[in-house]
């Protein structure tokens, strides 16, 4: 038994690393990277660049400050570069949706193809489940890092040099985005463990989010005192997160980390019990 835990860690790391290998060394991964680059080229070239130029104008800044201030998001404009403000506002809503698609196939194809049967003779189901999840997080960390680097490069091209505060802000955004995406990645790990295709996993995730939100909404409609439960839905902290600034943003990481832990725990049970 003494060797079980190191073995689990070693195998989990092998699975995580293999996800990076899948991204960087396979035609499927190259297509994903090419699509990612194309999307980000257009996002940087048009919305982010144009918006950051507009945000330089005092009258627009004043108008937006007033509008965002009314919804408690005044701090959105306080990131050290306007490019980072636009990047942060866009990605915090767009990336969770993208993750529902990108992280859908954590174990389902391997289950349907029978590949998991080869793997479970050599490694535990835990190492497969957690290894694939961590692998997805590593892939996201890499892609967010690349897109943030491109955003900083765009800002450097516009202003001539980057202030240190911009690098600090980029690091914070990178960390916050990873935390925001974790419960969605964990949700896809759970859905992927439940069904046999990525399409089904995506449908299941969307339907389950909708059904849970609908049921809670119905509950709150009839019992307004229970309004607090809506704050436990994945992504519920995003408006508050957009209203925070600097290291204060990390005050909102507790809920997504807790949601991640709960979803992973349920996913682990499903993975253990599921027939291969």
């Amino acid at each position: 038994m003494s060797g079980t835990f190191p073995l689990l860690l070693r195998q989990t790391w092998l699975y995580s690393r293999f996800e990076l290998h899948r991204l960087c060394m396979t035609p499927r991964g190259w297509f994903a990277l090419a699509a990612f680059t194309t999307i980000w080229y257009f996002l940087l070239r048009y919305p982010i660049y144009q918006a950051s130029v507009q945000l330089q104008q005092p009258e627009i800044q004043q108008m937006l400050s007033g509008m965002l201030g009314m919804v408690g998001m005044y701090n959105l404009l306080n990131w050290s570069l306007p490019e980072l403000s636009v990047y942060w506002a866009m990605t915090v809503f767009f990336m969770p949706l993208a993750v529902l698609f990108a992280a859908a196939d954590q174990t389902c194809s391997d289950r349907s193809r029978g590949t998991l049967r080869f793997l479970t003779l050599r490694s535990s189901r835990d190492s497969i489940f957690f290894g694939r999840f961590i692998g997805q997080i590593l892939v996201q960390a890499l892609l967010i890092g690349l897109s943030l680097s491109a955003t900083l490069a765009l800002a450097a091209w516009r202003v001539g040099e980057l202030p240190w505060s911009a690098l600090n802000a980029a690091l914070l955004i990178w960390l916050n985005l990873l935390i925001v995406l974790m419960p969605f990645t964990a949700l896809m790990a759970l859905c992927s463990a439940l069904v046999r295709s990525s399409r089904l996993a995506i449908s299941l995730a969307i339907v389950s989010i909708g059904v849970v939100a609908g049921l809670l909404g119905y509950l709150v409609w009839h019992f307004p005192d229970l309004r607090g439960v809506l704050e436990y839905l994945p992504g519920a902290q995003l408006p508050m997160l957009l209203g925070a600034q600097g290291w204060d943003t990390l005050k909102h990481c507790g809920l997504p980390l807790l949601q991640t832990a709960v979803l992973l725990l349920i996913g682990r049970i499903v993975m253990q019990e599921k027939a291969l």
Partner: protein, 306 residues
């Protein structure tokens, strides 16, 4: 005594459908074990239980003294699962090397081991191909190759030669025979003649029940000869064979094939007696086998039980 596999009152149901019922058996490391049974008998389900792919509904099952799927069995038990395929996005070498690393090998050792097992199944030249570029037979051989990685103590093969051409099927049989000194094999197949050649013990499943567990060349099979004659009209063979000294019963199991039951104590050289009778009548024979064929051994018993 520690068994290779031990099952006690093992049952598996899917909903209301009972697939395996109250199986109790134990197997020791010895000659390869054959798992035989008609379609739907529960062979693949038993395989899945042994590999830890499915949990049992009730009863106990241990493999090398551990619960199936336990981490203590990683690298010690391997299998060729039915219809399982490798990931189509990676080359055979990448995937087998990854399997090797999961089994605890270094990257270099895993690559070398992958190349070794691919060579065993004559696929060394296809190492850089992806699974999608392979024919059905080649995929089967890769799946066999992965089961031979490292030094497994128990190798379970579900229909190892199904879908293979005769040359490759022969190669796989030779490989199993060659490796059976180093590892214990459990082979599930519909090819009874193949199992007869390879295996020492037989588990016969029918309708989810273990109908018999026996040795291929068991004591019960002694006192029998199976004679296959050349094609031709031999209308008077049966009466002649029945007249031979020491004979107890003769049956014509198939066309030109006769099973002779004799008293081994009364007629210790009964095979010579049969050969002399053949010579006397000018009948040419194709095969004379001591004992019954596995087919006769199994189905004569099950027919009696029915």
């Amino acid at each position: 005594m520690s068994y290779l596999i031990e099952a006690r009152n093992l049952s598996k149901s899917f909903g209301q459908k009972s697939v395996l019922q109250d199986l109790t058996f134990s197997l020791s490391a010895a000659e390869p074990v054959a798992l035989i049974g008609p379609n739907g008998a529960g062979k693949t389900t038993l395989f899945s239980l042994l590999c830890g792919y499915l949990p049992a509904s009730s009863g106990e099952l241990t493999v090398l003294g551990h619960k199936p799927g336990s981490s203590a069995l990683f690298g010690r038990v391997s299998a060729l699962p039915q219809d399982a395929m490798l990931d189509p996005n990676f080359s055979l070498l990448t995937q087998l090397s990854f399997f090797g690393q999961l089994q605890g090998m270094s990257k270099a050792a895993a690559v070398a081991e992958s190349r070794r097992v691919l060579a065993l199944v004559d696929l060394a030249a296809s190492a850089e191909l992806k699974a999608t570029a392979l024919s059905h037979g080649m995929r089967k051989r890769v799946a066999i190759a992965q089961a031979l990685m490292g030094s497994p103590e128990l190798v379970m093969l579900d229909e190892p030669t199904a879908g293979l051409d005769p040359v490759n099927a022969l190669q796989v049989r030779q490989l199993i025979a060659q490796l059976s000194d180093q590892a214990s094999f459990i082979i599930s197949s519909h090819n009874i003649f193949e199992l007869e050649r390879l295996c020492g013990t037989v588990l016969y499943l029918e309708h989810g029940k273990l109908v018999q567990q026996s040795q291929v060349h068991s004591a019960a099979a002694q006192g029998y000869l199976t004679l296959t004659l050349d094609a031709g009209v031999h209308t008077d063979v049966l009466p002649v064979l029945r007249q031979l000294p020491g004979v107890l019963a003769v049956s014509d199991s198939q066309k030109h094939e006769y099973v002779l039951q004799f008293d081994a104590e009364l007629a210790p050289d009964f095979d010579l007696t049969v050969l002399m009778a053949l010579r006397e009548h000018g009948w040419r024979y194709r095969q004379l086998t001591k004992g019954q064929t596995l087919e006769q051994q199994l189905f004569a018993v099950t027919a009696k039980q029915a």
